[in-house]
Symmetry: C2
Subunit: 278 residues, 2 copies
């Protein structure tokens, strides 16, 4: 039996922005997540939309910077924003910003010392929805989206488990971690040097294997400072074209990698997920 | 001749969120401010709406947390968010969060050591508009609003200089600094113990002296943790009633003192100012 405590509960757009904490069995540590309950959630079951954040983020970044609550309240969507890795003094870490705590990459690690705690895929797909959806009025419909490393996470999770989600979208995602520095570093550490093991965690690879088709949308700023080195959305475009997987890829002139970009289009994403989850 | 440098410029809702830095002659230090240029600003003159932040804030809090850009883009309003005090190693400070840097209270200090730099009233009323409005396409119409200490600042500034503003509003403002601990501490330090000198910086006192009438709106959450000790909006209500100054005071059930409250109603405030500034 998991117990969840409410650390904070603040009125926002006539709903409630909460931060909750629970003991995760999967990650073997205490985890926090944000949950926004729109006003409709006190009256009827609502779909639940999961946001996966990028490198260095906690549950706070999205809930304070994205301006998402307004749209969740408009569409009657419950928004859940987990942390980006297991946390705590007992959890392995690395001094770099792109490995260890704050950089879980949403994989199930197989290599020491990471494999003891770093099972973010199982946490996001199974444990967190159990914890959240047993305590809110969920319609049973679910969507997933994220940013950068979290866009990678959302894509891989939805492509591997399309039975669990009605829709998937991403802002500025890492689409081919096997081919870019951030991904290669993380996958080597968490999974080992054998690239065969990386395929399960690479959206471009998973598109080729996908049998189901979910609504899939990606937004990318063309002034993103990581566009050429880490993101390379043209790889996803090519993989989707080759696989016949419909992709709605939208490029936006002048936008960078920041929450100012996310805030500008989060309303469109939430409306789009709300329609798919209805 | 003031030179202003652009520290950052990020696309947001089809406009630009900038942070600029300049040398302030009035404050005798280097100051930063945020300016949001809506898409309309590249085509025609726009009104300029000044936001004054609360204790401990810099120019960052409002531009990252309020979700205001969306509404500024909708209504064609330029948003300016200054810092809350003079800054820098040469500027007097105090270890407390509610005095010195981050806590300028929008007054012109008369007491040592503060009087050398702490002239935030003159900065906000005169120097900052000169700096901003000479570099953007301003319609010449101006509004002012703020939060908590910044709500106090907006009220006092607009009441004392109604010639400069078309409208004034506040979230959770300190309305009677002479009567509450935050205000008494700051006014004693910046102005001395003689309460006569405080009247010029107390919105409830200034309402009694006001000859002009500006559109005036205040929003207050009833779960605000500072409501009874520091804010006491009923004092402003009574002062406005006695003076015949129209006040639109709106109380909101369940809302606290945070940016979640501000975000929930910032759209209404910007639409309201936009109408008054048109």
């Amino acid at each position: 039996m998991t117990t969840t405590s409410v650390l904070s509960r603040q009125r926002c757009f006539d709903g409630w922005q909460e931060v909750r904490e629970h003991r995760s069995a999967v990650l073997d540590c205490t985890m926090r997540f944000g949950v926004y309950l729109p006003p409709q959630a006190s009256e009827r079951p609502c779909p639940v939309l999961y946001w996966l954040s990028g490198l260095t983020c906690t549950e706070q970044n999205f809930i304070t910077k994205a301006g998402a609550q307004r749209y969740a309240a408009e569409h009657g969507v419950i928004l859940v924003a987990p942390d980006t890795s297991p946390r705590g003094a007992a959890v392995p870490d690395d001094p770099a910003y792109d490995l260890g705590q704050g950089a879980g990459f949403y994989v199930n690690a197989t290599q020491a010392p990471w494999s003891s705690h770093y099972c973010m895929f199982d946490y996001i797909v199974d444990e967190l929805p159990q914890v959240v959806e047993s305590s809110v009025s969920s319609s049973g419909r679910r969507g997933i989206f994220g940013h950068s490393m979290g866009g990678h996470g959302a894509l891989v999770i939805a492509l591997r488990r399309p039975d669990r989600y009605a829709s998937v979208s991403a802002f500025s995602p890492i689409v081919a971690p096997s081919e870019v520095p951030w991904g290669q570093k993380a996958l080597t550490a968490y999974l080992g040097a054998d690239r065969v093991a990386w395929r399960a965690w690479d959206a471009c690879e998973q598109v080729r294997l996908a049998t189901a088709r979910l609504p899939l949308r990606v937004d990318q700023g063309d002034a993103d400072e990581f566009l050429q080195t880490q993101l390379q959305p043209e790889r996803l475009e090519a993989a989707c074209r080759a696989a016949g997987y419909p992709l709605d890829l939208r490029r936006h002139a002048g936008y960078d990698h920041s929450y100012y970009f996310i805030a500008s289009f989060i309303g469109e994403h939430i409306a789009w997920h709300a329609a798919a989850m209805s």
